[in-house]
């Protein structure tokens, strides 16, 4: 397995900050906008974005965690059953502008289930998608992100992981690819 660092911790930090400024361009003071992170790994992105946004804006931004387990389309198609994580949205999303946040956009199926799960909380005015990494050549559904941290062109056999200081000890994005010996 070959390991290639796509974003080191400095680039990682810059990328998060850039995403925050892009969000502010479109959402200004976040008066009617909310951020929703998709469980489990979108929450890391959400937490980091929220921290920076609140520092820049000097006000709190409404955030929630959304679990999509029960809305996925691979129930009974996987070897391992799907075990849910917590959903925590303590505000009404009716008529709000929602930014869905995930770490890696790959096939688009998680986002599809995320949109379905979101609609159980009301009818938002608008839904946007922010993804930290966009693996753009493996989409199985017509879904694109509005905000992208880094676009990665990779093979299906390759794996992209986002590592976080809080859980993995270092902020970085790594591309793993099979070497010639498999």
């Amino acid at each position: 397995m070959e390991k290639h660092v796509i974003l080191n911790s400095q680039q990682f930090d810059l990328t998060i900050k850039r995403l925050c400024h892009q969000l502010i361009e479109n959402h200004d003071q976040f008066t009617d906008s909310v951020l929703i992170g998709l469980q489990p790994r979108g929450i890391h992105v959400l937490t980091r974005i929220k921290k920076h946004l609140e520092e820049i804006l000097d006000r709190s931004v409404k955030c929630g965690n959304l679990d999509t387990t029960f809305y996925r389309d691979d129930f009974r198609r996987r070897e391992k059953p799907l075990i849910p994580s917590a959903t925590n949205i303590d505000f009404i999303i009716e008529n709000k502008r929602v930014v869905l946040i995930d770490d890696v956009l790959f096939t688009g199926r998680s986002i599809r289930s995320g949109m379905d799960a979101l609609l159980a909380f009301g009818r938002p005015e608008q839904v946007e998608l922010l993804t930290f990494i966009d693996r753009r050549f493996k989409r199985q559904l017509p879904i694109q992100a509005d905000y992208v941290g880094k676009t990665v062109d990779s093979l299906t056999t390759e794996r992209v992981t986002v590592e976080w200081q809080e859980t993995d000890g270092r902020d970085q994005v790594i591309l793993y690819s099979m070497d010639e010996n498999g």
Partner: protein, 309 residues
């Protein structure tokens, strides 16, 4: 890990501690879902479930049906009155006829102990036991334990007394198994005639004095006297039973600590529990009913996830 060790939910006795924890963790998420504006998820939209009730039920039947509908399963209902059972059809024939309509799961209540187990050996669908005679009522025990966990934070180390007709109660037996597996101490309390002889084998404490039992416990689960299952007189009169084993406000207030009061329903107000107690803030009877839907969603979801496509 992350998968139930069972194919059918026939009784608590077959479950591992990990199974019960998995059901509770999943039920936590469903509890959040049933409090949303839209209380439904699409997970089981390609699953068909038959609810076969060969014995009367209000709460359990409605609770199962609601749980199934909130998971988007297709549901068919059957009750013994007005069915071909009355015309002499056997249980296996009845169920196989229903299964030939491509049913994936069966929820069954039956007056005979072991009926669910028998069925699980003869048909291909997944079976959930919704009460088999005086044997087990696993989902009731799971929702009771889930409600204790929710109210007190943990089940382990808690003292639970089950008061009343232990002899005829499937709720009592399933509760004993479940609470003991989760590390609680269990006591049963009632007239000697309504405490089964095998109780010593279950390693539970036995008490015939209600005051002593209540002073010992953190949680009191008050059972209904099941007159419909009693072929003979087990105590002189309901009034006498109520005077000795009924829980009223005076008794509750006289205790040193605030205990949690539970009841699996249906309540006979004024017999095992007074209205004041049933409606007091120490009672979690309605929480039990709400949790019943979440726990039944969890059990149904986890069993359905094992059905091959």
């Amino acid at each position: 890990m992350d998968r139930l060790s069972i194919k059918h939910l026939l009784g608590i006795r077959d479950l591992t501690v990990r199974d019960i924890e998995l059901i509770f963790q999943t039920a936590d998420q469903f509890k959040e879902i049933i409090n949303r504006p839209i209380k439904k998820v699409p997970s089981l939209r390609d699953i068909t479930i038959a609810n076969l009730f060969f014995e009367n039920s209000t709460r359990t039947k409605l609770s199962f049906e609601l749980a199934q509908k909130r998971l988007s399963a297709d549901v068919i209902n059957f009750s013994a009155s007005g069915s071909s059972v009355k015309k002499g059809e056997t249980l296996i024939d009845t169920v196989n006829n229903i299964l030939s309509m491509k049913v994936d799961m069966v929820v069954m209540r039956h007056p005979n102990p072991g009926a669910a187990h028998f069925l699980s050996q003869h048909v291909s669908a997944r079976i959930i036991n919704a009460g088999d005679g005086t044997h087990e009522h696993p989902t009731q025990a799971l929702l009771d334990a889930f409600s204790i966990r929710e109210k007190l934070g943990d089940i382990s180390g808690k003292k639970v007394v089950i008061v009343g007709d232990i002899l005829h109660s499937r709720v009592a037996l399933s509760n004993i198994y479940c609470l003991q597996k989760m590390g609680a101490e269990v006591m049963v309390c009632g007239p000697s005639t309504l405490i089964p002889k095998y109780i010593a084998k279950l390693e539970v404490k036995v008490e015939h004095d209600l005051m002593k039992a209540l002073n010992w416990c953190d949680v009191a689960n008050m059972l209904r006297i099941q007159l419909e299952r009693q072929e003979m007189k087990y105590f002189p009169s309901l009034r006498e039973y109520s005077m000795q084993f009924g829980l009223n406000k005076e008794i509750l207030d006289s205790l040193d600590k605030r205990i949690v009061v539970m009841h699996p329903g249906p309540i006979n107000r004024g017999v095992e529990i007074t209205s004041e107690v049933a409606d007091s803030d120490q009672s979690i009877i309605l929480n039990q009913v709400e949790n019943g839907v979440a726990v039944r969603m969890a059990v149904t979801y986890l069993l359905a996830s094992q059905i091959e496509r």
